[in-house]
Symmetry: C2
Subunit: 416 residues, 2 copies
DNA sequence: GTGACTTATTTCAAGTCGCAACGTAACCCT
DNA sequence: AGGGTTACGTTGCGACTTGAAATAAGTCAC
């Protein structure tokens, strides 16, 4: 990502252009509901609206928009009703200008999804993955055929792909080349980018972005879901393991080597249960789906964790053991979330991930209660604890926001 | 703090001016050593140096500097040796242009310190405070006489005070007026600013800034101490209680209601010891000096905690109990710091506060070890764990950086 | 000493940009 | 058809940064 130098009057122009484009783009993304499927298209805006939204003068907006219209990034979509004056010309992203692809390398499946500039989904592909058999080659092959599939299904010209974003569970190391470290996968320093680019199939010769899956999910919720408009928020992903994304100042916080937000491995019980990361007392060792099932006495080394967890939850009505396990789980989650609130003082905490959503169905009040008990009064009062709104494809959607972010900032394709 | 709108070519000018001024200011602050006392003055810079440091052209630096020279904020301090060309004119802040005052409302004492623009200390005052008798009125009176004292001792004209910064233990609520909530103090919604301004003595009619003491200490270490140059860091304050300051992107992170970084109240033992905050299992309930002494069986409700802790530490050579208490303490601290590292992926962790410095004398290796055990490999490897460099007056120094920050950004005195 | 050489700083002439003011377009209502 | 109203485009101005050229202020070899 190019360093955005500031100082000259030209940088100002780039910034203002980006501000207008961002404003227009985000206004198009609906407050998505779980059942949202097709398009995030929501609302167009006029030049006037953009002027007040960005704080720029109408004249400047006109200039920037003219440029964007000339480049065909933006189109006029029609006229608004008038109540006496010249009707406002409504503007929108030109869906056909370009496309982005998001890839979710998950714990149990690989997902690939292709969007146009209006974030309308144009094609998707999904491949199951045998848990505990995450061979690198298998995953790479799935990604590559997924890319092929969405390209041919949508009929989109590969040259029109602005970029591909890939969310993986594990830590990204950004050096001379991108390396992926995944403890769950037993991946150690996997050069995923190189493998994708040299793959047998048509790895598009276009910008690729890598990030942790919890962070891409967080960015999806931030842009389109329960996090819309938040400046400081935390998005928690509870799946087999536990992850999170921290939003600081409206952007995803990554830390110095982009491995921040490993929420699953904060210590909630000093000298507690051993965690698969090697440490002890991690939150993930208590509140991840895998750990919950273990504590319940039904470890699932391979099979269908989702079904098993659902079973546990419904058993809680009659089984004292199951109820106790869930009660404990909300204790631990509350302790972890409370720590997060005390440390980060967010305005919103969003719980997502398949296990998080399952658990929250019945456990949300208990989690809120436990969180309250484990946090200070003032920061707790400033926070709302909510559920994620984007469902299981949130990670892929968020991955697609990575190239989009670059595009909106005008830092994509230095060529042209 | 005024909202820094960006967009016009004039804002650009303000930003560039601020960039030059910051660069010049920070280059003057020495990598301070514990024994530093008088001045932070370190190194002057030429226009050339500023040009490369800020990325601005030499011409622009000349223009900005001319303006600053005209305003007498900056002065030429002499010429550098030449090795064949025109010698560089060295520039520095004009110490006499204005002054800032930092106030540290601590757990056992109140400190007031006055600095000039070069951060040379011009006067200081200190008042002991009977722990557990923090009457608001007493503290306010101490602050007001401290302000009087440093003003008369230094002979500085009150009109030349650019602003006063005040660090308090507890949470700052920024509403229509600033309120302070301090659990340690039993302060609830204390309108400290109003009390200071309406005090019997000459509360200066000038900008006042309030922040948590751990945050001001963190900012002092960030600007002048062990945190210099860091973009992402954590400064931990271990005193009677435990606090922290989070540095994100080179600036202090405050969260949505500026109560972030309450590190002392993250949960390290779910369902653990009761903490004075009302919750259970907080880090502070294990690793704060007060808690350590309690666990040692020698609670100090009033007396000299510093001496008592020092005694405990030296007793560890012979007493099995004392050694075990310290060993446990480093376990808990390591768990807390490890969580911080996993969550925030900082490049540096700095331990300060009087108890932190005492403990680290012998315990630092054990704390490092325990931290390593409680954090993931990659983020741990990217972090260094160091000691604070600024000693007991760091909180006051940091408090003085609050008005200084505003001054450097050009957001002070809208008048003139 | 003196002239050639170096390096730092200032001046100058473009080139950009955002903005306020003003002009024009497009629609409503009567 | 015409007046009213709102949205949008254009123009001229002031402010800004910058690269290049000019100037300032030394060093060095002889």
């Amino acid at each position: 990502m190019r360093d955005l130098k500031r100082g000259t009057v030209r940088d100002l122009r780039r910034d203002n252009r980006a501000a207008v484009l961002w404003s227009l783009y985000l206004s198009q993304s609906a407050p998505a509901r779980p059942q949202f499927a097709q398009s995030l298209l929501y609302q167009e805006r006029s030049r006037q609206d953009l002027s007040v939204a960005t704080g720029l003068s109408a004249a400047s907006v006109t200039n920037v928009i003219r440029e964007l219209l000339d480049e065909r990034i933006v189109i006029e979509t029609g006229l608004a009703e008038s109540d006496g004056g010249r009707p406002r010309a409504m503007l929108g992203m030109n869906p056909g200008y370009g496309y982005v692809i998001g890839v979710d390398v998950g714990e149990t499946r690989t997902r690939v999804e292709l969007f146009d500039l209006a974030m309308t989904e144009r094609a998707k592909a999904e491949y199951p993955l045998d848990p505990y058999r995450h061979e690198v080659d298998t995953v790479v092959a799935q990604i590559l055929s997924g890319l092929d599939a969405v390209l041919s299904d949508s009929g989109v010209d590969p040259d029109a792909i602005l970029g591909v974003g890939i969310g993986v569970p594990g830590i990204i190391e950004r050096g001379p080349e991108v390396l992926v470290h995944g403890q769950t996968y037993n991946w150690d320093a996997v050069p995923l980018e190189r493998m994708l680019r040299s793959g047998p199939l048509s790895a598009p010769d276009c910008p690729m972005f890598f990030d942790n899956g919890a962070k891409t999910m967080g960015q999806a919720e931030l842009w389109f879901g329960a996090g819309r408009g938040a400046r400081n928020a935390v998005v928690i992903l509870v799946g087999s393991g536990v992850g999170a994304s921290l939003i600081s100042g409206g952007a995803t916080y990554r830390g110095v080597t982009s491995s921040a937000a490993e929420f699953g491995h904060i210590t909630v019980v000093t000298n507690g249960r051993r965690c698969r990361c090697g440490s002890t007392g991690c939150l993930e060792a208590y509140a991840g789906a895998e750990a919950i099932l273990e504590r319940y006495g039904r470890p699932m080394a391979g099979g269908d964790q989702e079904a098993a967890l659902a079973e546990l939850i419904s058993a809680a009505d009659t089984s004292v053991l199951a109820a106790a396990i869930l009660e404990e789980t909300s204790q631990y989650l509350g302790a972890g979330i409370g720590s997060l609130i005390n440390l980060l003082n967010p305005e919103r905490v969003i719980i997502g991930g398949w296990a998080g959503l399952q658990l929250s169905g019945t456990l949300l009040p208990a989690i809120r209660e436990s969180t309250k008990a484990h946090s200070l009064r003032h920061p707790f009062a400033a926070t709302s604890i909510e559920l994620g709104q984007l469902g299981p494809w949130a990670v892929a959607l968020g991955a697609a926001t990575l190239p989009m972010e670059s595009f909106l900032n005008g830092t994509l394709d230095p060529a042209t």
